[in-house]
């Protein structure tokens, strides 16, 4: 046999060549892979800390790229940005509609095409602080006038990483026409026990109805749970990052929700999905404890009951307690890799703290002729009960929602920071909450199981 031929007719030389080629490729790839992050011995990533300074130039010039969510608010911001460029003609703003949730993280990690400013959910700010400017200094002149809850949710390890934008007070939306027919006076609902009693009375009036909304989406149900917790001045974790789930406020809230479920008083439906809209429009679901942005439903989603809905402050957890908690909300963040961070700060300063700016956002505009009424400003001088930025809402029977929301917003207690792992907790707390609302877990089991899972999978792995 020819010694140069292999068993399959391949020459040893050919094998050697291929082997060399593969080895070279492997070495090259291994070398390339070393271009990744440095391997350090520190116990986690370094803390963020680049402090943004106020721009010194009186006539700033330059270009900035701003990311916003697409949709109605994008158009509102678009118009407000035109006002900004009238004030700062030297600044060109590239306003882009972006799927922020799917794009921001990769952009920040790779450092490619990083925008100068981003509109971001409050619940997600904590997760990005390593990539963001600390805005504590530039915000200092305004901090005392911003709703404390909004300062808290943007604060991580003493730094403030978002320009607080909107405040989203929780309100009790109710079908006034249906309650009136059932002989229920909504003004008599002062506490959550009163709400249970009213729901029972409504059910007697309309057998089969399940008057109170019980959220069926894990994320939204955790968000709503945090609204109730915010009302009690707490949140999933304190400023020190310690879990606060196993506490009296959470036991009280979960027990109440469990009672609604056990007493058959709750409609299990996902926020404004067909089941929810159907139950609302049929008069089966008449109480909706939710953020102010539920007012979108009577304005855009409901048909049969449009005009029947009103809003009032949330019931208190105990007599004299706070009548609102925050649910959701957004802020503006400025990435450390931004090319012109100071110019984007000027934009956000204008939109949030300048009367011309916040009036352009919340006042009558092309998208909302009566004003943008799905939230209120977090900057308290802008949220003046006597100076409404948006008009009474026809789809809510002409109710002056500004007055109701601003007064509720002032009752939101502070002390409710959002931990960086909040989003990840949905897999545990949100899921267990759903099990409880379906009757397969008790409140204490939710606290124990979700607490253990969050501690193990999120806190200890950070």
């Amino acid at each position: 046999m020819n010694p140069t031929l292999g068993r399959n007719g391949r020459s040893a030389r050919s094998f050697a060549r291929r082997g060399t080629a593969i080895a070279a490729a492997a070495v090259l790839a291994a070398g390339l892979s070393a271009c990744g992050p440095d391997i350090g011995s520190a116990s986690g990533p370094a803390a963020g800390g680049a402090m943004l300074e106020v721009p010194a130039n009186a006539s700033p010039k330059g270009e900035i790229t701003i990311w916003d969510r697409s949709g109605d608010l994008f158009k509102v911001f678009d118009a407000a940005i035109r006002k900004f460029t009238e004030k700062y003609p030297g600044i060109t703003v590239h306003h882009e509609a972006v799927d922020i949730d799917s794009k921001l993280q990769n952009t920040l990690i790779t450092g490619t095409d990083v925008p100068d400013g981003v509109f971001l959910d409050d619940a997600k700010v904590g997760g990005y602080v390593e990539h963001l400017y600390n805005l504590k200094d530039v915000l200092a002149p305004y901090t005392k006038d911003i709703a404390k809850q909004k300062v808290d949710v943007n604060t991580v390890n003493g730094g403030i990483y978002g320009v607080p934008f909107d405040l989203d007070p929780g309100l009790l939306f109710y079908n006034a026409k249906a309650l009136s027919a059932a002989g229920i006076d909504p003004n008599g609902i002062k506490t959550y026990d009163d709400l249970l009693a009213a729901a029972k009375k409504y059910q007697q009036y309309k057998p089969g109805a399940k008057p109170i909304h019980l959220e069926q989406n894990a994320f939204n149900s955790q968000l709503q749970l945090e609204m109730y917790a915010s009302q009690l001045g707490t949140s999933l974790a304190g400023a020190d990052g310690q879990l606060r789930l196993n506490s009296a406020p959470y036991q009280q809230i979960l027990t109440w929700l469990d009672t609604v479920q056990k007493d058959g008083l709750g409609t299990r439906a996902e926020y404004l999905k067909p089941s929810d809209v159907g139950a609302l429009d049929s008069g089966d679901e008449v109480f909706y404890p939710w953020a102010i942005w539920f007012d979108y439903a009577p304005q855009q989603q409901l048909t049969a009951t449009k005009g029947d809905w009103r809003a009032m402050a949330l019931p208190a957890w105990s007599d004299g307690g706070a009548r609102s908690g925050a649910m959701g909300g957004s802020s503006f963040v400025i990435p450390k890799d931004a090319k012109n961070p100071q110019l984007s700060w000027l934009l956000y300063q204008f939109l949030t703290f300048d009367q011309a700016g916040y009036t352009a956002v919340y006042g009558p505009n092309e998208v909302y002729p009566g004003g943008t009424n799905t939230s209120i400003p977090a900057y308290q001088p802008a949220a003046d009960p006597a100076k409404p930025l948006f008009q009474p809402i026809d789809a809510m029977g002409g109710q002056d929602l500004w007055q109701t929301a601003v007064e509720a917003g002032r009752q939101i207690p502070g002390g409710a920071p959002i931990p960086v792992w909040w989003d990840g907790a949905v897999d545990y707390l949100g899921t267990d909450l759903q099990k409880m609302l379906d009757g397969s877990m008790t409140p204490q089991q939710v606290i124990d199981q979700a607490g253990k899972d969050i501690q193990t999978n999120l806190i200890e792995r950070k």
Binding site: M1, S33, P37, G278, D427, R461
Partner: protein
């Protein structure tokens, strides 16, 4: 015993490997010069490498580099900024001990069972019918492919409306015949079959195309001979069509196995992985880690998933070879 190679065999072999032999005849002065011949030879030798270089560069940049990068990442705790912390097999140990990881694999496996066998049977039946029918053949073929080319998110939204537990069209039909409503998307017992149905509807047309192409390779004479031997249609289907379609079917199985274990958009849009994570597929579980910037765990998760999918795919390839 060592047999001497025939005279000139090695030369012929090399010439054959390197292209057509230079035609016999008088050579030009340039070609005849040793230096010129060496240059020409080097060009000939380097030309193939030059041609494949762009592919190799792209392959290295977009396949090999990410692969090694991800492998390295899987041994670290990194959240996208600062120095990564070397954790060895920590991420792998964490995942292998995590019930949610196994649950996500289990969810994908159940979806595979609900989708792939049904899809194979369905595809053979539809492909045979499409191959048999004469009238409106093109229309039917297009009709089966349309779901495959429709945007998945649009289909997912249709599914939400169709299968709503209280106000969906499907439960309305059930109610019309006196049956109780079903929580298609909100009960862990029904959510997976409902998602499987979506996947079936969306992708069966693609598998039908594969089977159809296999079907058209079958020699018509086989059916004629079988018919002469007295074999009926069912017997022909079972004894001729199915065995000869084996390669197409196995190819479909491998492709659909890969697809099922990568299912992401359907549960992401329709159920968000719920209820109770019962539709959190392997793909969605992986996404959740990456979406939370837990990149080290996400990388380890992707490697574990690759191992599982490769093992399953190799199993099918082995089965195919064994049959051959």
């Amino acid at each position: 015993m060592t047999r001497p190679a025939p005279s000139g065999a090695a030369t012929v072999f090399r010439e054959g490997r390197r292209g057509p032999a230079v035609p016999a005849g008088p050579r030009t002065a340039k070609a005849a010069a040793p230096r010129g011949r060496r240059t020409f030879s080097w060009r000939r030798r380097l030309a193939p490498y030059a041609f494949v270089l762009p592919f190799v560069a792209v392959f290295l940049a977009f396949s090999i580099y990410p692969l090694f990068f991800t492998l390295r990442l899987s041994f670290t705790d990194w959240h996208g900024t600062g120095a990564a912390q070397w954790v060895g097999f920590g991420n792998y140990r964490y995942l292998l001990a995590n019930s949610a990881f196994w649950s996500s694999l289990g969810n994908s496996a159940v979806l595979w069972l609900l989708v792939v066998p049904v899809q194979l049977v369905l595809s053979v039946i539809v492909a045979v019918l499409l191959n048999t029918i004469k009238r409106l053949r093109s229309f039917y073929r297009v009709a089966f492919v349309v779901p495959f080319v429709m945007p998945l998110v649009a289909i997912a939204q249709i599914w939400i409306v169709l299968f709503d537990q209280n106000y969906g069209a499907v439960n309305a039909v059930l109610g019309a015949v006196g049956l109780p409503p079903v929580g298609w998307l909100v009960t862990s017992a029904w959510a997976k079959p409902t998602l499987a149905l979506l996947f079936l509807w969306k992708t069966t047309g693609f598998v039908v195309l594969i089977v159809l192409s296999g079907l058209q390779q079958v020699e018509p004479g086989l059916y004629e001979a079988a018919s002469l031997d007295g074999a009926g249609r069912v017997r022909q289907l079972w004894s001729i069509t199915v065995p000869l379609l084996r390669r197409s079917l196995m190819f479909s199985v491998v492709l659909q196995t890969l697809a099922v274990f990568q299912i992401f958009t359907e549960p992401y849009v329709v159920t968000k992985g719920g209820p109770y994570n019962s539709t959190t597929t392997a793909g969605l579980f992986l996404f959740n880690h990456i979406n939370r910037a837990d990149l080290g765990t996400g990388a380890a998760n992707s490697f574990l998933l690759v191992i599982v999918v490769m093992a399953v795919s190799l199993l099918f390839v082995r089965l195919l070879r064994a049959e051959d």
